[in-house]
Symmetry: D2
Subunit: 346 residues, 4 copies
């Protein structure tokens, strides 16, 4: 049996304690140290996990030979500098989503990690949630057929953020899910948005995403809504799926579709519609965050790429940047940059 | 008391018989004649309404002095020529939606009607449906405040049409409702679509619509969906509304919103969220088609413009054409032409 | 091919015209005559079906050699005398539910029909509805296991009837369904009710029904409710089913249950709970009334007992009478009479 | 300002820690000691609340002058002896629902508390939940009119208990709510049940409850169900309410009803049905347990009777015992004993 992996966690605000708790409960993992600037947060977490060293000094994590990997749950603006310093100190890095505040930043992190053979993993937790995984299996098995289009709504009332748009805040969830499901990078994005409450801070956005394979996706994001809606429809050539994260039946599979038969005579189409059973498969209630951190450990130990890879995190940022650019120029269709271009553009 | 208005109805397919039935039940209206090329349809309707003359000859309606108005329920491609001949014969005209197959055609019909002082009315039935009217009242009374955005989905499985896209088929419903609610013509449209089943016949479309006032609308239309969805969310600065045409509570009013208070100090925003009661007002179950035809009679008798005016019908076509143009050039943002431009372009 | 069966329909109020329409559309059936006391009803139906003779004289149906069977859709109080006269005239009889106004009346009809080898069939339409049939198949195939209990609610606002309770009005639906599904007569009934609006006319009732096999059923009936509810839960030892007649997914099958394993040690139970997939099977949208009348024709032609047999209709009345008796004596548990006893009591 | 009240909590299983946490967060309250037989439970809670003394010895709470009140969260069988000893030691007592394992036990506790002027309070948490309180206000204000009947379902899959029926397990919730809403003790109960899984342990029960005022209630309780259902319908002469504890809109008020107008002519009734707006009032999300414990503190400090009084707890047991007796004799209608009778019977 291997020695346990030891983690240093920086940022003990809203999400950090969840990371600490899940790491602590993970077999083969230990929280060696926790770091924050606020004494009260350090004290609170320190009391809960007496074995973890508490510190206000991030550098102390980097020089600590007992720390194998650094887990970053600080504000987005700090992701790049903290992650870069950790990688340069030879630590594996897990950083909360989004990977960085720009594709340039993200790209630099990725190349740094690759150069040193270190794991760099953004925390796209949704792609570890059992309903999302189940749908991935449905797509990959061919049960849904060709994916014609995906339409998704992620809306609720609040919380507005003063410095980033709803696209940066909620977009990473849907863009990482789409990237995971479809297995390809979007090629074009067109987005319309409005800053209803705060000036220059879009709080509603309608984003169309095109992939080279032909799959079209629509993503509706909003901090202004009469209620919470987390509804995704996936329309395939064989079956259709509705994924509702707020439902007790999060995945519903519809054996429905339209079938084009061979034209009887030239120029005449014969269409039949099929409406069959609807199945809500039982979905296990495992915690996505635990699965995500286990994947991080696996990646460190085996060298395999985690599902939520740095490349996936970078792809998500590329889509966000394309959406923001489209919004800025009034809804124009914008080409999503790929790695090579962003590299040369950096 | 006035003499009853006498109508000639042409086209006795799916929708025509509904028009005949509602006209027959309307006080002050009489069906003088019905016209179709198919003898079996004529026979069926003739048996039901023995007082109505049946004819295969459209011209016979036009020369019949007993016919005050012509009601057209034939395929879209024939709207222009039939309506034009009726107007030129001095008859008022009601034509099923859409008004015509192009804005040029629609514009010619409108100018012809205006020149002769005749009523030309497209059959946008939804703007006579009690839930839609109730929401119009909520908007006009200011109860919802400024309309930030509207998001609407109109999807179901089928029926594909071989010659027109889902935008021409389902779009007139939403575009007429938006036009009625907002009281302004859209200025820009951007649309993404896909022809999943039939080549070159989009069966799913995501359409963003911008108005000069700032209101942004998103319209999702599809013939491919796991189920029927008719869901519209209207987000105002004061209240929000969900309109669901398939629900026993078609209008739900949410006393919810985000409130920006005066910044405490320079550059700092204070937002509060309000979540109050939800009300499902009782909505009368009157038949929209009866209200629509009564409005047509009123317009003929008083000379007032009907709610579903020729101008509204033309505006709807302008939005459809802009959406189709946007789809054709890959989602580009397209300016919606207004009447003057389309005139000069004609 | 057989000559068509010819029907005389008496009672052209709310339900009668549906019977006429379905008979008319049924292959191998013809409506020979329609009968009502009201001239306007006769005229209306006569215009729709010119081939049917119209008459105000019920006896004229009985002496008409062209009439094979009489279909009765008159008020309950008249069922017995009309059906008896028809049977005595040698006609097969279909009578709307309930079969008669009392078990004595019902029993007399049944013995009369049996003596003459005529079909007597009560119109329990629900047991011909596709969702109810589908559940019957699930029960009979053993897929649900032993049926532990059934809980059903049939409530809506109105319509109160001045002369019969909600048990006589709505009860026949549920009691016929239970009788069909379970294949056994209830042995005991206990009911609590209240006459909220009209004196001595219960408009809400809670009825517990026990069968010898052990299955317990609860039936909630009400004319006072905030909305329409048609919800039945069937809990079996293997699977559970929810049947909702108002839903687009009327049958939902839950692969869930509790499993008692062999006690580890004496007196200790080990229970495990199983929660599996949920399936909404596609249910064909055939009209129950058409299937019911086809079954009537089949019974006449073959001599086989129809699904909605006179015995089933009589069993339903026995349950209603037991429930009424329980209500009358304050909720006491009442034994359901079976045929032999009711016979000797007659 | 008063000195804080000091509590000793016994029983640190599933519910006890919730009581400790809420007491700790309550202003004016302190957890002086926690007691359990299991060292690991004591250690866990002791670590969380270092200021609380931990002990395995219940008597040490009773002799501790720093303990004002004892909070009991142990199995039902022990409620009586622990509560009695605490009262006899002069401590106020809060005991988890049900108050005791029989009405005799409950009655003895109540008279003991009354004699010594001590507060005895059962933990009927639901009557402190904001939706239940809101409905109490609606009833008391007369907004619902006369309460005709109440129908409630509390079902889910599991958890079976080996020693008590579903009536003892789930019944206290509904019987306490009904007692609180209606403000009167039930007079008669009739119940049907079945022991589906474990022998002699009913896991489904249909219970009819009658009050002297005329209000009829039906309570469906089950550990066997395809899903969780917490649905209560209250039908009043003026309005109706649906209370669904699992919904984001737990209270819905329907302005609907049937209206009996003066008979036009002798013996003829004229009924009209009214269907108005539906309102989902905003309900505050306060934790019921915190409100409940604050009520306990208030009762200790002021001598006022808490909402969840010993009398209410005893009334609940009387209903449960009547239901069990009805089940035992096959569904017979059973009179609910009141205090005097149960006393003399003791």
């Amino acid at each position: 049996m291997n020695a346990p992996l030891r983690f240093g966690v920086v940022g003990l605000g809203y999400w950090g304690p969840n990371l600490v708790r899940n790491l602590q409960e993970l077999e083969g993992a230990e929280v060696a140290a926790v770091c924050d600037r606020r004494d009260d947060r350090l004290e609170l977490i320190g009391r809960r996990y007496p074995a973890a060293r508490t510190t206000r000094d991030f550098d102390s994590l980097l020089v600590d030979p007992l720390v194998d990997a650094v887990v970053i749950a600080t504000p987005v603006a700090t992701h790049h500098s903290l992650a870069l310093r950790a990688l340069e100190a030879g630590k594996h890095v897990f950083v909360e989503k989004p990977l960085a505040a720009s594709s340039q930043e993200g790209h630099q992190l990725m190349t740094t990690a690759n150069r040193s053979g270190l794991v760099l993993m953004p925390g796209h937790t949704f792609i570890y949630s059992p309903p999302v995984i189940r749908i991935k299996e449905l797509i990959d098995s061919g049960e849904l057929g060709e994916i014609y289009f995906i339409s998704t709504s992620r809306v609720n009332l609040g919380l507005h953020q003063a410095d980033v748009s709803v696209v940066w805040d909620l977009g990473p969830h849907d863009f990482s899910i789409l990237r995971y499901w479809l297995g390809e990078r979007p090629s074009f994005v067109a987005a319309t948005a409005r800053s209803c409450i705060l000036p220059d801070t879009p709080d509603v956005a309608f984003i169309n995403v095109e992939c080279a394979s032909g799959t079209v996706s629509h993503v509706e994001l909003s901090w202004l809504a009469p209620g919470k809606l987390r509804r995704t429809t996936i329309v395939g050539s064989r079956k259709m799926v509705v994924y509702d994260d707020t439902s007790s039946e999060p995945v519903r599979i519809f054996d429905s579709g339209a079938l084009l038969q061979d034209p009887k005579t030239f120029g005449e189409y014969r269409l039949t519609y099929r409406t069959g059973d609807i199945v809500s498969p039982h979905i296990d209630a495992r915690e996505p965050l635990a699965l995500e951190l286990a994947d991080f450990c696996m990646a460190i130990q085996t060298g395999d790429t985690p599902r939520s890879s740095a490349q996936l995190g970078l792809d998500v940022i590329h889509v966000i940047e394309a959406a923001e650019q489209s919004i800025a120029c009034g809804g124009e269709r914008v080409r999503v940059l790929d790695v090579i271009e962003s590299q040369s553009g950096a």
